[in-house]
């Protein structure tokens, strides 16, 4: 199956952008990531990932409005493109297929699975 490669961190960032919808920009994404995954990521790492995703065509961006706490600087607001959403879908289906192929009990149990 041929599609653009999506790294794990990129996938999470892409998903977070999708969660945030209208208000997805650097800091918001970082904070949301922290809340959702408990990962303490640096702003620069998020920026780098966003940048890469935009280059790959999975995100598009436009400049948003400025706030005082930003020293009058505008935000760059990101939204998931069609390619991005398609890629996310594919990744998810692939994962599902893989999960489905796993025989029951072949994974060691690590607690009460309900």
């Amino acid at each position: 199956m041929k599609r653009t490669y999506l790294g794990e961190f990129e996938e999470i960032v892409l998903l977070t952008v999708a969660i945030l919808g209208e208000g997805a920009y650097g800091i918001a994404i970082t904070d949301e990531l922290d809340r959702q995954t408990g990962r303490n990521v640096s702003i620069s790492a998020v920026h780098a990932a966003l940048h890469r995703l935009e280059e790959k065509g999975m995100l598009s961006s436009k400049m948003g409005d400025a706030t005082a706490e930003r020293g009058g600087r505008r935000k760059r607001l990101f939204s998931v493109t069609v390619l991005g959403s398609k890629t996310l879908q594919e990744v998810r289906e692939q994962r599902n297929r893989l999960w489905d192929s796993i025989a029951p009990q072949s994974l060691p149990a690590f607690g009460m699975m309900i």
């Binding site: 920009y25 620069s44 920026h47 706490e69 600087r73």
Partner: protein
């Protein structure tokens, strides 16, 4: 919440972050920062901020986005050609200004280049010897009577010291001693079996280890063991060719010495004396083991006195000379302590690096050859820098003054998209172009003027650009430095014009640039005035020294050398024969005639004293005719008579004073020298009036004069209208009596003048540079005057229409240029007063700076500058107002 993140981190981010990312990144970081401040306080927030900024140093943030629109390619060939074209058009269009600029820079560059050549040539002496950095010469300082000034500061030392050092100090690998034996203008060289001889006084007696210490390039024979055998000699190529022509010199036998019948030497090698620069430039080297004085030196065991030989030691690599110096006092004490105490002296022997000898030997007497002085080189370099600076200032002034003409060009260029940096590049390029044109003009001029310039500095420099890469490098560096120095301000100034005001025609001169221009003119003229005053004071001092009453009559005196043994025998006969010539009035014999250094001295004390309380008194030897011939008065006692012996002495006024005697009572007393059983007594028979034997730079020394009927020099008091016939007769008499030795004579006046050759060179150099500085300053003034006259044509026209006279307008224009010159005079006067007083302090007998030097310099500079601007101002004032006003 008004706290701000650290400023330096902000700057850093702005510096490295790609511009298209900066806004969002900085915004995010600020947002985060504000929240951190609210949550954790400012300190932590700031730390976090810095950390975050640093974490952004990664490829994506550093990478600049390609712009969608291509900017003008600033250095495209088309533009470069355009710059060149415009530069040349400007040069051609304003021929007068261009030639003033180029002329000024060329003259400056000629000076600069020559001085750099000269200074460069003074460095690198003795570098070519193998292990040159480990070779040292022994220096000797002797202090008498606990004085703090060494009375004897010499490049020579006692012969026993160097061999003992090698024996006792493991650091010393090798030593060699060099004896200046053949200097007395009486050393003849000839081939055995032939009668022709010539005089050469640059030979040295040296130890057989000489070539283990020094490196010479041999053309015949080999350096190893060449001087091991007694009575061997190694010749320089020059001498070998003089003696043997094209024939091989090796194994031939030559006669050397002041008595041709005594020494015959075998040639064991010939070296190339044109190779390398050295403080020691021997014309031949004789084995020290060849009898005579060499034998005396070899067997000498004196530790205190007899400091007459040059000693060199080669140390092991990486040995600090200070560690050897530290061991010297103990060595002297161990072997010579008793003797040195007996002589009542304090003696210090220490090492001087061989490669330092040429440039760092100020104040050290008994050098082997002419040495230079690093401070003199600094003076030269300073003057060169100032001259070039004056030339650069001309360029700056003329270019900025004329900037209105280029203003439109700058406006148009900026309007069509030139950046300031491009314009700076363009104008700098133009000044570089002019600098390089100047260099290309200067090189042939330097080449052409070399003989003249060399005569100024007494050197024999050659300009071989193609063979000498470093000279080429220096030349290019001078050009680049000049171009930058001259071009940077005009470039910054011209490129700062605002296109709007320039193109609208409301452009006005920046008043600051006018002030700067005036300031630069003041600076130029200050330098010129300092130099003028310098020349005047140096000339005054030289005149003073020439006319100073030396205490004897120096006019019409001829000195004949009879120091050759063969000649000295005939002293009396020669004297009697010469006196038959009616043009010769008197003849006096003397060992050290005025202008010569006294080489002999002794510690003298009066009765009841001892050696350690003695006074160091120079010794001279004269015959009965000397005082009369030179017109030196005897103020007490009597003159020598042929019946006197070495034990009768005549003291000088100064020695009487130093010995604590009085003129009245000195005659008839005895003075002594020596210690223990070896005390010598002298009967004082007279006292002569003080006369200045040596340079007026030095203090007068006390002198004690002994008697000899046949001293080494004859001073003839002549009264001749026709010196040629006189010398022909003298030569005839000489040939008759002493056929084996050539006649050598000199004028006493010339010999005295030679003592001031250093000052004369300085005067010659400063003279030329002053001329050049004045010329350059006036060139600049001329250009400015021309420009102002041009600028103010309308104003002058209106003034004339309203009734101003030509004189009035000329005065008006001249006044403007006179002001900076007067300010320069006010600045330069105290500066030069201070500098020249310092210079004069180097002379014991000196004139003072004097107000007349300032007056002359002031009047001269005002007159010269008025004259310079007068042409332009008069021209402007004489123009018919109709021609200037009708064009409106």
């Amino acid at each position: 919440m008004n706290t701000k993140p650290p400023r330096w981190a902000e700057r850093l981010l702005e510096f490295f972050c790609a511009p298209h990312l900066l806004e969002e990144v900085q915004g995010d970081l600020h947002e985060r920062y504000q929240r951190q401040v609210a949550l954790f306080g400012e300190e932590i927030a700031r730390r976090q901020y810095v950390w975050n900024v640093l974490s952004f140093i990664r490829p994506f943030a550093l990478k600049r986005k390609k712009t969608e629109f291509s900017t003008t390619f600033l250095y495209s060939p088309t533009m470069l050609i355009n710059y060149l074209k415009i530069a040349f058009r400007n040069l051609v269009l304003h021929k007068m200004f261009s030639s003033l600029n180029i002329l000024g820079l060329t003259v400056g560059t000629v000076c600069c280049l020559y001085i750099l050549l000269y200074v460069k040539d003074q460095f690198g002496y003795d570098n070519y010897h193998k292990d040159a950095e480990n070779i040292y010469r022994l220096r000797t300082n002797i202090l008498h009577n606990g004085g703090d000034q060494p009375m004897f500061n010499s490049a020579t030392s006692s012969p026993i010291i160097a061999p003992t050092m090698k024996k006792d100090f493991p650091e010393v690998v090798e030593y060699t001693r060099v004896l200046n034996f053949f200097t007395a203008k009486n050393n003849l060289l000839g081939v055995e079996g032939k009668t022709e001889t010539f005089i050469d006084d640059k030979g040295f007696l040296v130890d057989s280890t000489f070539f283990n210490v020094f490196t010479y390039q041999f053309v015949e024979g080999a350096p190893e063991h060449s001087l091991d055998a007694p009575y061997t000699v190694v010749l320089s190529k020059t001498i070998a060719e003089k003696l043997f022509g094209q024939e091989k010199a090796i194994n031939k036998r030559i006669k050397v010495g002041n008595n041709l019948n005594t020494t015959t030497l075998t040639v064991t090698g010939v070296y190339d004396d044109s190779f390398g620069k050295s403080h020691l430039r021997p014309s031949f080297l004789v084995s020290l083991n060849s009898g005579g004085l060499g034998e005396f030196a070899r067997n000498n065991t004196e530790w205190g006195g007899n400091n007459f030989i040059y000693s060199y030691v080669k140390l092991k690599p990486n040995v600090n000379p200070e560690s050897v110096n530290a061991k010297m006092p103990a060595l002297l004490q161990r072997y010579g302590g008793k003797r040195i105490a007996e002589l009542g002296m304090k003696k210090v022997v220490f090492l001087q690096k061989m490669t330092d000898i040429h440039l760092y030997s100020k104040g050290i007497t008994n050098q082997t050859d002419k040495v230079s002085d690093i401070s003199f080189l600094y003076i030269l370099l300073t003057i060169a820098a100032f001259i070039q600076l004056i030339a650069c200032i001309n360029f700056v002034n003329l270019t900025t003054a004329r900037s209105v003409r280029r203003a439109k060009e700058v406006g148009v260029r900026k309007a069509v998209g030139a950046f300031r940096s491009v314009l700076i590049g363009q104008f700098l390029g133009e000044s570089m172009l002019i600098a390089f044109i100047s260099i290309f003009l200067a090189l042939p001029i330097v080449k052409l003027l070399l003989p003249f310039l060399n005569s100024l500095t007494d050197s024999t420099l050659a300009l071989n650009i193609t063979q000498n890469l470093d000279i080429l490098l220096i030349t290019v560096l001078v050009a680049v430095a000049t171009g930058l120095l001259a071009g940077i301000y005009p470039a910054l100034y011209l490129s700062s014009f605002k296109p709007v005001s320039v193109l609208k025609g409301t452009f006005k001169f920046n008043p600051a640039s006018v002030v700067l221009r005036k300031g630069l003119v003041v600076f130029q003229f200050s330098i010129a005035i300092v130099l003028i005053i310098g020349v005047l004071v140096i000339s005054k001092q030289l005149d003073f020294m020439q006319n100073k009453d030396l205490g004897f009559d120096k006019k019409q005196k001829v000195v004949v050398s009879v120091s050759n043994e063969n000649a000295q025998k005939h002293f009396t006969a020669l004297k009697n024969e010469l006196l038959t010539q009616h043009q010769i009035k008197n003849i006096g014999g003397v060992r050290y005639y005025p202008s010569q250094q006294f080489l002999q001295d002794m510690l003298v004390f009066k009765s009841g004293g001892t050696m350690d309380k003695g006074v160091l008194i120079k010794n001279n030897v004269v015959d009965e005719g000397f005082f009369k011939t030179l017109g030196i008065q005897l103020i007490a006692g009597r003159n020598f008579t042929p019946a006197d012996t070495n034990n009768q002495v005549i003291l000088s006024e100064k020695s009487v004073k130093d010995l604590n005697l009085t003129v009245e009572t000195a005659v008839g007393t005895q003075v002594f020298t020596g210690a223990g059983d070896n005390i010598e007594a002298f009967n004082v028979i007279g006292v002569h009036k003080a006369y200045i034997n040596n340079s007026l730079k030095d203090e007068m020394t006390p002198v004690m004069t002994h008697y000899s009927s046949q001293p080494e020099y004859m001073v003839l008091d002549v009264q001749a209208d026709n010196y040629e016939s006189l010398f022909a007769n003298v030569e005839k008499i000489w040939k008759k009596l002493i056929p084996t030795v050539p006649l050598q004579y000199s004028f006493l006046d010339d010999d005295l003048q030679k003592q001031y050759s250093e000052e004369k060179t300085l005067r010659k150099i400063i003279n030329s540079f002053t001329l050049i500085a004045i010329l350059l300053s006036c060139l600049g003034l001329f250009g400015l005057a021309m420009f102002t006259a041009e600028q103010r044509t309308k104003e002058i026209g209106v003034r004339k229409v309203l009734g101003a006279s030509v004189v009035g307008i000329t005065t008006l224009l001249s006044k403007e240029f006179l002001k900076p010159v007067l300010v320069a005079l006010a600045i330069a006067s105290p500066l030069s007063y201070y500098a020249m007083n310092k210079w004069l302090e180097g002379f014991v007998y000196r004139t003072e700076v004097g107000w007349e030097s300032f007056a002359v310099a002031g009047i001269a500079i005002v007159a010269i500058s008025l004259f310079t601007v007068s042409y332009q101002t008069l021209k402007a004032a004489l123009v018919n107002p109709v021609t200037t006003l009708k064009s409106e």
